[in-house]
């Protein structure tokens, strides 16, 4: 992974067990692509469901948002801000998704995000999630979020 992509993952505000980005393949002006492999013992499998672990849809949305919106949004915000120091906070504002298949422990996901627009600090993208092991499209939808400076968050 390129150093600049590693730095984006390091800049993410999440920590395990809620960090859902293993690697980024590329981020450009127009989109992002990254990967996450579900661990065998993710905390949510204890309850979803007992003895029948299936990845919750909300977690799939989170994985897609972290790679497709937050990593990508940090990249875009950094480009815009250049070298200005800022503590950037991601805000998830909406998602409309279709789930097309189940995801089990140890499945490996590839998330691809394409920009619809990035204006007034709002990023709206078409995000798709593919299971690399089965080559099946798992989830697809439109995601929006804003990356804001921490000082502005209380307004």
């Amino acid at each position: 992974m390129r150093q600049s992509l590693k730095e984006i993952i390091e800049a993410l505000p999440y920590q395990p067990p809620f960090l859902f980005v293993d690697a980024l393949e590329e981020i450009t002006e127009n989109g992002s692509k990254g990967y996450y492999q579900l661990k065998k013992d993710e905390y949510f499998y204890q309850g979803h469901f007992p003895n029948n672990p299936i990845t919750p849809g909300v977690i799939l949305i989170e994985i897609m948002a972290q790679i497709g919106l937050v990593c990508y949004g940090i990249y875009l915000a950094k480009e815009k801000l250049k070298d200005q120091e800022a503590l950037l906070v991601p805000i998830f504002t909406s998602a409309a998704v279709d789930f097309l298949g189940p995801v089990y422990p140890e499945d490996q996901l590839e998330v691809t995000s394409e920009k619809i627009y990035y204006r007034f600090n709002k990023l709206k993208c078409l995000v798709t999630c593919k299971n690399i092991l089965t080559n099946q499209l798992i989830c697809k939808g439109v995601f929006s979020g804003m990356i804001v400076n921490k000082d502005k968050i209380d307004q």
Binding site: I91, T93, S94, Y117, R119, F120, K122, S144, M146
Partner: protein, 84 residues
């Protein structure tokens, strides 16, 4: 362009983003998009993009801050349309 016409058109644009539609029946110029109409602040961006497309105008980052109420939004749109 007539401000009443803009008001009517703006009402149609914002309608899909207003969670409680009843408010639209008695819409006034004083209604604040976020505080009164309860529009998700990220949807303000969608409204601005819809407005830009409808009137073929460009709204800059700092101008969006001046569009707090229906009346202010109409003034901004009216001004931009006049400038064209």
């Amino acid at each position: 362009m007539d401000k009443n016409k803009i008001q009517e058109e703006l009402k149609n644009i914002i309608a899909i983003y207003v969670p409680e539609k009843e408010i639209l029946d008695n819409l006034t110029l004083e209604h604040d998009l976020i505080n009164d109409l309860k529009i998700n602040s990220a949807h303000i961006v969608d409204i601005v993009l819809d407005v830009e497309e409808k009137y073929d105008i460009m709204i800059e980052d700092d101008v969006i801050m001046q569009m707090g109420t229906i009346g202010q939004a109409i003034d901004v749109i009216h001004g931009k349309v006049q400038e064209k």
